[in-house]
């Protein structure tokens, strides 16, 4: 009989059948008790204004309206800021266009949404700050600027053979999870509330609602079964909706459902930080960087939210896969009158990596050399040049191996030649190709968040297993992978495992499902719980059958001890009848990590993920339209628990990244009003944006040298950055117009308009 291991195999998502039959519940789908009301939020039409008066008379009188809440209804903390204050639920002064001011509950969602339009609000308009440059000029910051350094960057630049200067911008990005923000709250006895929230962070939702209501945390239970995508959009931005929904439930004493309209969702919530950078770089004749000075400024919006951690991760990733001897980075966290920008897959790292990739690209065109070769020459090495700018020694470096394999498997060199030939023969249509690497650090940079809990029950009746852990299923496959780990650890069939909703009354004090760490942390905590139950079982067997120090081998529904073998179900039932606990909590903390935020030194990451991509694009120089012809990705997932899920992340992350750097453009008017707030105006990649040829491979030799579950490596965020290759392939195609001798100026996103502008500017230069 073939031994079933359940890990290292392609297994469909645990909810796949429910997904395809429409039977999977998302927050808005949960059946409602009779009398449920529906919420809607009224928000500011000014980006910066003193609110003189909110007249809600007509709102109250609107059809179907049962209750209205304003800041007066908040008994406790009027703020949902996760780390710092600054995100009022209902503010006194409007600080961005779209900031919530009040909310209503009505008998239907449609009536609630109609009612909020009847509000009469008078404002005294103030001048808004709407761009990074304006904020820099006016020194408008959400947190203090910071400077990090290693070596002597300025001296090194000055004494280098070549020097370059420039600036570069990457744009914002709307998460556009297909499930929008939503919450559903049911009042309980004792003034308790059961909160169903679309959130990556049930524990913090619980805490924020408790503080808002001036109630104990134990009176609020937050439950999340699954999210319809999130990508960072509900790490903190969901709090205000769960809070408002609870406030309406408290006021009406009825269940409230709040599903936020797509436009309102995009208008109200924060997005990816756009970054503006200025650089000065010194390098030798081989293109190796000798010194780098950077100014890194991000748009944070009105409040700190997670901007401190996001900018910190940016600072930790300005090196990407490159050894930097001398670095000086100034980092500015700009306060603007726009929604507070927040977590988004990559969390600042991708923005910083684009900065260094753009610099390397600039160096390559300046030296008229192949950019892949310049990249390779700057790679971290194994025995020397292996200390990061934050003093962490890199011990798991495989970027050179990935480079070698991918350059070969993608036929990079011969394709480069045929592209040059194509370009010389075609006046209007140009092709470009580019290789970019990824090195991404895994662990929360905030030390205490690197912990996780789990709760495992085995039922004596049939040996079925129930697992709850702190991670949230949002398409990441965490429940599937943890069920696989559980089935493997107990040697029983996958179908006997149920991994269910994340709930604060089962596993408390959890961290957000974020930082690509969800399966690493919660999987390890679950295995810890299982090992405790196994210890109980072993102790029982030892006691009863006098078997010495045997832990038991769990395989194929059997449990083998030295000299005694049980059927799993039989052992469980027997253990129950002998009063053995078949339930346990589990706990995990990430080892080895430490980081001094002041000196910016330490080991913030347990390990690094490595990846690389080669993309080939085609552009139309008459219109700027562009297309990805082929993408080859090689990604180190360690020993993947479920290669199909990891491949899904690798491909999906790439396309999402290509959207960020390509067709996705967030536009604000000078008055701070966002104008891209629906799928008709904000374009995420659709099916034709997928590369025509798309080869995503897992690096077969990959293994995690650290003690991570199954020796796997996460795939959550890092694949997104492989899309950098698309952007620089576009730049490469543009550069062909000047015979690769001049560096085109191109900022992200590379919309058709930006590409055409870049071509025009380049033609002027040559």
């Amino acid at each position: 009989m073939k031994q079933e291991t359940f890990i290292n195999e392609n297994r469909p998502h645990e909810s796949a059948i429910k997904h395809v039959t429409g039977k999977a519940y998302y927050t808005d789908d949960i059946p409602e008790p009779p009398g449920t009301l529906y919420g809607a939020i009224g928000w500011s039409k000014k980006a910066h204004a003193i609110i003189k008066k909110i007249n809600l008379d007509k709102v109250f009188k609107s059809e179907g309206v049962v209750a209205v809440v304003t800041s007066d209804d908040i008994p406790g903390r009027n703020d949902v800021g996760p780390v710092y204050d600054g995100d009022p639920i209902f503010p006194k002064k409007a600080e961005y266009y779209g900031q919530p001011l009040f909310a209503v509950a009505a008998t239907t969602t449609e009536l609630a949404r109609k009612a909020v339009l009847a509000a009469k609000i008078s404002y005294k308009t103030l001048k808004p700050i709407t761009t990074i440059k304006e904020a820099l000029k006016k020194k408008s910051f959400v947190l203090k600027e910071r400077v990090i350094k290693k070596g002597e960057a300025l001296k090194a630049i000055e004494s280098s053979v070549h020097r370059l200067k420039g600036n570069f911008t990457t744009g914002s990005q709307e998460h556009f999870a297909l499930e929008g923000q939503s919450a559903f709250v049911i009042p309980q006895e004792d003034n308790d509330f059961k909160v169903f929230s679309k959130t990556q962070h049930p524990s913090e939702t619980q805490q924020i609602i408790a503080k808002m209501l001036n109630q104990k945390s134990n009176s609020i239970t937050v439950e999340t079964r699954r999210l319809g995508g999130s990508f960072g959009s509900t790490e903190t931005q969901s709090f205000i909706f769960a809070a408002i929904c609870t406030l309406l439930a408290k006021k009406t004493k009825r269940a409230i459902k709040l599903r936020v309209d797509r436009d309102d969702d995009i208008i109200i919530t924060g997005k990816r930080h756009d970054f503006y950078s200025e650089y000065s770089v010194g390098f030798d004749e081989l293109g190796v960087i000798t010194g780098l000075k950077l100014k890194l400024a991000s748009r944070c919006g009105i409040s700190p939210d997670l901007s401190g951690a996001i900018n910190e991760r940016a600072l930790l990733h300005v090196d990407n896969a490159y050894y930097l001897e001398n670095v000086l980075v100034e980092n500015y966290l700009c306060k603007t009158n726009t929604a507070s920008n927040t977590a988004f897959r990559g969390f600042g790292a991708n923005q910083a990596m684009m900065v260094i990739e753009n610099i390397i690209d600039h160096i390559a065109t300046t030296l008229n050399k192949d950019s892949a070769e310049i990249r390779r020459r700057n790679f971290y090495q194994k025995k020397k040049k292996n200390i990061t700018h934050y003093n962490m020694k890199i011990e798991d470096n495989v970027i050179q191996e990935i480079y070698d394999q991918l350059i070969k498997s993608s036929n990079y060199k011969s394709r480069q030649l045929s592209i040059k030939k194509f370009n010389s023969e075609n006046k209007y249509i140009k092709k470009g190709i580019c290789f970019t690497p990824v090195k991404f650090g895994i662990s929360f940079t905030t030390w205490h968040l690197n912990q996780a809990g789990s709760l495992v029950h085995i039922y004596y009746n049939d040996g079925s297993v129930h697992v709850n852990h702190g991670g949230v299923e949002m398409g990441n496959g965490v429940h599937t992978k943890i069920a696989q780990l559980t089935a493997h650890a107990l040697g029983i069939n996958f179908s006997k495992i149920k991994v269910s909703a994340t709930t604060t009354d089962k596993v408390p004090n959890t961290s957000a499902s974020a930082a690509s760490s969800t399966t690493d942390l919660n999987g390890a905590a679950t295995l810890n719980a299982i090992s405790k139950i196994k210890m109980n079982l072993a102790a029982y067997v030892k006691r009863k059958y006098k078997i010495k120090n045997s832990e038991g081998i769990y395989e194929n529904g059997m449990v083998k001890f030295k000299g005694k073998t049980f059927k799993f179900n039989k052992l469980i039932k027997e253990a129950y009848l002998n009063r053995v606990s078949l339930s346990s909590t589990g706990f995990y903390t990430t080892p080895k990590i430490h980081f001094d935020k002041k000196t910016f030194k330490g080991r913030p990451f347990l390990y690094f993920c490595y990846s690389a991509a080669v993309s080939e694009v085609m552009i139309d120089t008459l219109t700027g339209e562009n297309k990805i012809l082929r993408a080859d990705i090689l990604h180190d997932a360690g020993r993947a628990i479920n290669p199909a899920i990891e491949t899904g992340q690798i491909e999906g992350g790439f396309v999402q990244g290509a959207g960020w750097l390509g067709c996705e453009e967030v536009v604000w008017k000078t008055n701070g009003q966002i104008t891209t707030h629906s799928p008709s105006t904000y374009k995420i990649p659709a099916v034709s944006d997928m590369p025509e040829k798309f080869n995503a491979e897992i690096f077969k030799k990959g293994i995690n040298i650290e003690n991570v579950i199954n020796k796997s490596k996460t795939t959550g965020e890092p694949p997104l950055m492989n899309a950098m290759s698309v952007f620089f392939a576009i730049k490469n195609a543009i550069a062909s117009i000047g015979n690769y001798t001049a560096n085109p100026k191109l900022d992200a996103p590379a919309t058709p308009e930006k590409i055409l502008m870049s071509i025009k500017n380049l033609k002027r230069k040559i």
Binding site: L178, E179, G624, E625
Partner: protein, 479 residues
């Protein structure tokens, strides 16, 4: 027969809704009244496909399975149709439909919320097409957004359907459904509900009578624009006349001089019909919107909306199309060029309706059309251009050029046309003609494109058109 109730077929039986709210949205009905939560609300504007359901309609004694966006469909338009939801694909013995099984096998879902929409779009393709060519697959899901997968596993799932047995439980039950549909599809609907009126006539003579008494009524054709008044602006529409219930107006005729397209003909039908006359017309219609939109939207609706970015309009203008207007007494035929007045304003008078569009069949001319937008699939044009050129012996004879996205209305480029007409085809003339576009248009900045970019590509598209003619090949990246 006239009735204030609507009848539709759902799960093998006839459902009747008594006097529904004319503004009620189908998705809302599905989720809150039928209590089926598989269809999701992602955007309320037909832009994400999460709400996709399939409607079965009788056509030549067969059922035509159309994917539509239920989030922008008015409930009363369900009259006479079969409603198929993602929940209904599973067969009675509990086995998954081949489309569903393929999505499971190829890991087509990650978070799963867009999945029901994809399943329904693929189901519609599965029922309508036989070969599932790569471009058919891409087109069939071009109106469905997925933020997780990057589409590769969904494409693989769709490709795997090529080898599947096409007989599903819908095939087996077809006769029964056709009989049910025949029982209900022969009636006109008149609804009065809380001050809101809805008319779905079956014949033109009925329409005329209704129009006489309801001169301010809104025409509902595909409704992909009108419905946003309800879903986005959150306003009521008090009086609606549904045009697509009039089968007399659903036709494509051809008298060798022109193609006549009836007002209620969906774009998707024109798309396949017109290919042999004007391949570029078909090319642009493919990019007009998703199949969910093209399945219901009509040329007449596009004309009546008079949007500056209506993608049919530059083509129709450049072809000198005519619009046939009718009122109680007479027909009036206008050149489309004379029909648009200003931003979203036309010469359509109260009491009049568009009954058809006449598209001239030009034999010696070259028609080329281009659409530029941020995204290939389902996006609104930054600029859409159409060039109708008659070139004889390297000389431009008749030249008709029109652009969308360049002015408040879709508009001819008169100055540009003048430069080209009766001139030799030379680089110098083309350069002059490009320059003349600056006199024709002063395009605006918005979130889609800046005015200067629009002007730039308007010029470059003319250059591209001429280069393509000269080099006798297509120049571009989308073929």
């Amino acid at each position: 027969m006239t009735s204030s109730n609507i009848d539709f077929v759902y799960q093998d039986r006839i459902f009747e809704i008594k006097n529904p709210d004319p503004n009620e949205i189908l998705l809302n009905y599905i989720r809150t009244k039928l209590k089926k939560i598989g269809s999701k609300n992602g955007c309320s504007e037909g832009g994400c496909g999460a709400c996709t359901v399939v409607l079965g309609e009788i056509k030549n004694n067969e059922i035509n399975y159309k994917a539509i966006n239920s989030c922008i469909t008015f409930l009363p338009t369900l009259q006479g149709k079969q409603l198929i939801l993602v929940e209904d694909l599973i067969s009675k013995n509990g086995s998954l439909h081949p489309v569903q099984q393929a999505m499971v096998n190829y890991h087509g879902s990650q978070c799963g919320i867009c999945t029901p929409g994809f399943v329904m779009s693929l189901f519609s393709m599965f029922k309508k097409k036989s070969k599932f060519k790569d471009d058919e697959i891409r087109d069939s899901i071009s109106g469905n957004l997925c933020r997780c997968t990057g589409y590769q596993p969904i494409i693989k799932a769709a490709k795997s359907l090529k080898n599947k047995n096409k007989i599903d439980h819908f095939t087996k039950n077809k006769k029964n459904i056709i009989n049910l549909l025949k029982k209900i599809n022969n009636k006109s609907v008149v609804i009065y509900n809380k001050g809101k009126k809805y008319f779905a006539p079956q014949y033109v003579h009925e329409l005329k009578k209704i129009l006489k008494k309801n001169i301010d009524a809104n025409f509902l054709s595909g409704g992909t624009d009108l419905s946003l008044t309800v879903t986005k602006e959150r306003k009521d529409i008090h009086s609606i006349i549904y045009m697509n219930s009039i089968s007399e107006l659903n036709y494509i005729k051809n008298n060798n001089k022109y193609i006549e397209v009836g007002a209620s003909t969906p774009l998707i039908e024109l798309e396949s019909y017109i290919k042999k006359y004007y391949p570029d017309f078909t090319k642009i219609l493919r990019r007009y919107g998703s199949p969910q939109i093209r399945n219901v939207a009509t040329v007449a609706g596009n004309i009546a909306t008079a949007s500056p970015i209506g993608d049919c309009l530059p083509l129709l203008l450049s072809l000198n199309a005519q619009v046939v207007l009718q009122d109680l007494k007479k027909n009036r035929i206008l050149f489309l060029d004379d029909f648009f007045i200003s931003y979203r304003k036309t010469k359509l008078k109260k009491g009049q309706f568009i009954s058809s569009i006449r598209i001239p069949i030009l034999k010696g001319n070259i028609l080329k059309s281009y659409k530029v937008s941020k995204r290939f699939d389902d996006d609104i044009s930054s600029v859409c251009a159409a060039f109708n050129l008659e070139i004889v012996k390297n000389k431009f004879h008749s030249v008709t050029i029109a652009y969308g996205g360049m002015a408040a209305i879709p508009k001819r480029a008169i100055h540009c046309e003048k430069i080209l007409s009766n001139s030799l085809v030379t680089d110098e003339i083309i350069h002059k003609a490009k320059k003349a576009l600056e006199r024709d248009f002063k395009p605006i900045n918005d979130m889609r494109a800046s005015g200067s970019y629009r002007m730039n590509i308007a010029k470059n598209l003319l250059e591209k058109c001429c280069a393509e003619i000269k080099q006798k090949k297509l120049i571009g990246i989308y073929f």
